[in-house]
Amino acid sequence: MNSREEILGRVRAGLQRNAGNAAAGREVMAAALSSNSQGPKPAFDATPQALLERFRIKSEVQASTVDIVAADADVPAAVARYLGDMKLPKTAVVQPALAALDWAAAGLTVEARGARDADLVGITGCFCAVAETGTLMMCSAPDTPAAVSLLPETHIAVVQASRIVAYMEDAWNLARAELGSLPRAVNFISGPSRTGDIEQTIVLGAHGPYRVHLVVVQN
């Protein structure tokens, strides 16, 4: 008997599995999988303006910084301003999905590709954002590679205000509606990477970015 059969056999023995309770179990399983019922969630104002405000506040709690601009065309200048203020290099890797913005006009040198170890600044979009916790939802794809938000020391993310949802549950529904199935990697990101492994002292910048800057586009 192989390990799979042996393990499942012992689980079945523990549950006193028989044809009758197997059918009942399958019904429970089918109901759970089809209902997609949601658990209790903290209540808050979910008007678009309130969602944006909550997202901003919660993102700052997570140690991200937030800038709000009027339109997509304002993004490169906002990124250049941030990099200048922080005295960071004006060279960045950008997810191919954002290649069309006029980065050069803002004085930035960008390469649209996947990330490499030497990249110091990574610019990404996001699939949507979650107001409850101040969280970005990143979905991997050929034009949105995952490592751009991971390898560089600085991560700048462009967030469309219209894509700020209230809860993670709303983000799943958006993914089901727009993508069908889940991409290889969904990464929920809430601020810069951190560790508390030495004396429970929180240090920003463990293995991932030291800083996360969000440029929210209001449109």
């Binding site: 999988l33 949601q38 463990a206």
Partner: protein
């Protein structure tokens, strides 16, 4: 991992006498407790969320075979390979086979308690494959002569800044630093090279999602993302009990797990990984393996300890345990410390190898109160004590003592006489004080505390006297 829980009492004495450890534990204990208390305030109805989480976990473990089959099918549909391991030895065999198949020389690891159970690092090294722990805490322990973790969330919680400063100075050959951000950066720079050169990444799994065939990883440092994004092979090692039904259930559990563990409303990274890299993608592994591990879990299903399978490994029970706070994690002698460890160690590593653990509890129920999935930990500890008695594993003196007590307790007149004698003896022993410093019959009890002295009369005597005065005054 080799089990050392049979040496619990000796371990505890050593840990209590270790002034450095006691200082580190004192420094750590308040932080987890206050952060959690603050974080659960965001949830309008924390209790309802706990109920929902417990119901989600029950739904799966009550039909675990069906959910495992369902998860396996969905994972295969995404292009993953699903393997099964009966025990730690089989985990090691499977992982080494995978490594050899793909020509792997170096494995970067995100934190996996199951790999600790299996002793995987040791096995990989013996097979000529280099394992590199990349969680900062786990890395600190690995370079300190493979010291085992003392906490499931904060593995190096027993170490002080000075300890780490000395260690990095010695291991990295760099000037000694006492600044925590500088030490963190030093580890980052060392480990970045490993992330980029490893051919295989190994992670645990916080949850397996049956709806989508995905693994969900809860991390803060970004090392979990590195090991699941950069190498060409990703292996997930996880217990068979980790399945949950849907993405919505994942969201409910995520409201509780980081809050209970570190007091965060959400971890920095929460990654849901499904299948392998597509040819046109820039990053991600080309091969994804799940190793679903039994190692004692299947035998727990449907039995007295079934509820323990709900555990989501947050560590809140140990953070709030007065015993854990006093002795630290190493004294428990195996992978899982604290109340959850005192239940899991006997179940997974043998009840006869961990006789003292279920007794290392005051049954104060702090653990039960904070458990996000409402596991009745004190009840399970009490049940394990019963099992020890049923299996004749208690010491001879205790067994004879209890028999004697039972024999006397069945004879009320004799019992009353014995109690009267006992109360007077203890009063005499106290010789005028209200405390007894040393109990000759049970010196262990008075090693760290005094025994309150009875006033010389039994409850029944006092009750009878009170009845008598009441009758006389009417």
């Amino acid at each position: 991992m080799e089990i050392k829980s049979m040496h619990f009492k000796a371990n505890v004495s050593a840990k209590l006498a270790d002034a450095v450890l006691q200082g580190n534990l004192k420094n750590a204990k308040g932080k987890f407790v206050t952060k959690r208390a603050e974080a659960i305030k965001d949830l309008d109805d924390f209790e309802a969320t706990r109920d929902a989480a417990a119901a989600i976990r029950n739904k799966v473990i009550d039909n675990l075979d069906l959910w495992l089959e369902r998860f396996e099918q969905k994972a295969k549909d995404t292009g993953a390979t699903v393997l099964w391991a009966k025990d730690g030895a089989e985990v090691c065999r499977l992982v080494i086979d995978i490594a050899k198949k793909h020509g792997v020389k170096k494995v970067t690891k995100s934190k996996s308690m199951l790999s600790e159970e299996a002793g995987l690092n040791h096995a990989l090294e013996a097979a000529g494959i280099q394992p590199v722990e990349t969680d900062l805490g786990e890395y600190i322990l690995q370079v300190d002569n493979n010291e085992p973790p003392s906490h499931i969330i904060a593995p190096a919680v027993h170490k002080s800044l000075d300890d780490v400063a000395d260690l990095f100075h010695k291991i990295h050959g760099t000037p000694r630093k006492t600044d925590i951000p500088a030490l963190t950066r030093e580890a980052r720079e060392v480990l970045r090279g490993h992330f980029l050169s490893a051919e295989m990444g190994l992670s645990g799994g916080n949850f397996l999602v049956a709806e989508t065939g995905s693994v969900a990883l809860v991390t803060n440092e970004g090392n979990g993302r590195m090991v699941t994004t950069l190498p060409k092979v990703h292996v997930v090692i996880t217990g068979i009990e980790k399945v949950i039904p849907t993405l919505e259930d994942l969201s409910t559990l995520m409201r509780l797990l980081p809050r209970s563990a570190t007091g965060q409303s959400i971890s920095n990274y929460f990654s849901i990984l499904t299948g392998v890299k597509k040819p046109e993608e820039h990053d991600g592994p080309e091969h994804l393996y799940f190793v679903l591990v039994d190692a004692g879990r299947a035998d727990v299903v449907g039995g007295d300890f079934h509820a323990m399978l709900r555990c989501i490994r947050c560590g809140a029970c140990m953070n709030h345990c007065p015993v854990y706070q006093t002795i630290g994690g190493h004294a428990y002698g195996w992978v899982y410390p604290g109340p959850m460890g005192s239940v899991l160690t006997p179940l997974y590593a043998g009840i006869e190898n961990s006789i003292d653990l279920p007794h290392a509890a005051t049954l104060c129920n702090q653990c039960g109160i904070v458990c996000p999935v409402k596991i009745p930990l004190p009840d399970l500890l009490r049940k394990l004590r019963e099992k020890q008695t049923e299996r004749g594993l208690r010491p001879l003196t205790e067994r004879i003592g209890l028999r004697l007590w039972a024999w006397v307790a069945l004879r009320p007149a004799l019992y009353a006489l014995g109690a009267r004698f006992g109360a007077r003896y203890l009063k005499w022993l106290a010789s005028g004080s209200d405390r007894i410093r040393i109990l000759p019959a049970a010196p262990e009890w008075t090693q760290g505390r005094d025994f309150p002295a009875p006033q010389g009369k039994t409850f029944r005597e006092l009750y009878a006297a009170r009845q008598k005065t009441a009758k006389e005054s009417t």
